[in-house]
Symmetry: C2
Subunit: 206 residues, 2 copies
């Protein structure tokens, strides 16, 4: 397809597509003469990933470049690519989590028999969030943490069951976009479920 | 307690406490002579709410003032207070959701027999997030949406079961802080659950 169709398919203006080409975020198409090039489905997917990283994850161009670098790194295996991409999505917490919170996360991982890296950024983010809850006067009990973990596992299992098994680049793109677009869905649903319960409780109280 | 103890209990520096007092975000304590005042538990809780709104929700002072205004409004019932507070937390989506996405949200609410306001900001945010997922090339099916909704309901039920039944101000504070501090916990757990599943799949593939 020509650049005009690429723009239409991806919803990204032609001028912006050219900017991404100049910046090296989007691979060049196959040259057809001196000034034209043709693009394929991989360019459409790459543009969707770039827009998701900018619009949904709120990343700056420098961090977008790092995520794309991890996706494109042929030496790293699928897991490492997804890991780096997810790491870029989880900003490091403002303060280091306490040892006690880290230990609670480790115990949770053992209870659930999860295969996860204790040093991964989302494990650190979880420990920091547990500290924040306690500091805000509402510490989360292990029992509640287990309910949350079970709900998170249900959602993740469903995501993986519906993930198409394609090549490594596609799988990474899929995982990153899935994380970015599905998290706001989960959060909105949680707030609606809360609204439902609050309304029912209120109706009973009257 | 004196202002020094209030500062210590809440972790907010004395100068910042004085600033909130001047700005009217924190009610004045009971005067003891011309220059001193005593504070109670309600001040500690109010300071925690203010810090959660600023540090965790990332709200500016103007929006913190609106949330506190809703919490303090004696004319509104508990549900309305929680509703306004949550509304302030859910930023309006950048673009209006499509009619089709709104209709999908309405059907979901009917399927689950949820008592929710279709015009509430989180219902709008959900419709917009469904549009975003489709635009990113990964539309969420109704079946997956139901799995997500069930997980969200599990978490919300647990939250409500562990919420102490206090007065309206306390309940609102509790709901707002709970939403702010527990959402990052849920998101981190979802990423860890994904890491676990990806590692297991990778181990099997080898």
């Amino acid at each position: 397809m020509w650049i005009s169709e690429l723009s239409q398919r991806s919803g990204v203006p032609v001028a912006t597509v050219k900017y991404y080409l100049r910046e090296g975020l989007l691979p060049h198409g196959e040259a057809q003469g001196a000034t034209r090039a043709v693009y394929d489905e991989s360019h459409v997917r790459r543009l969707r990933l770039i827009r998701a990283l900018i619009d949904i994850a709120g990343l700056g161009l420098d961090r977008v470049r790092e995520v794309l670098g991890a996706v494109d790194d042929d030496r790293s295996d699928l897991m490492a690519r997804i890991g780096v991409a997810h790491m870029e999505l989880s900003s490091p917490p403002a303060t280091e989590p306490s040892d006690a919170a880290r230990e609670r996360v480790s115990r949770l991982v053992r209870r659930r028999r999860w295969h996860t890296d204790p040093g991964a950024s989302h494990a650190t983010a979880l420990a920091a969030a547990l500290d924040t809850a306690a500091a805000a006067g509402q510490p989360m009990s292990d029992e509640t943490l287990d309910v949350y973990a079970a709900a998170a596992a249900d959602v993740a299992r469903r995501d993986l069951a519906t993930t198409p098994r394609r090549d490594a680049e596609d799988a990474t793109t899929y995982a990153v976009i899935g994380t970015l677009v599905n998290e706001p869905i989960l959060i909105s649903l949680r707030r609606m479920a809360h609204e439902n319960l609050a309304r029912r409780r209120l109706a009973r109280a009257r």
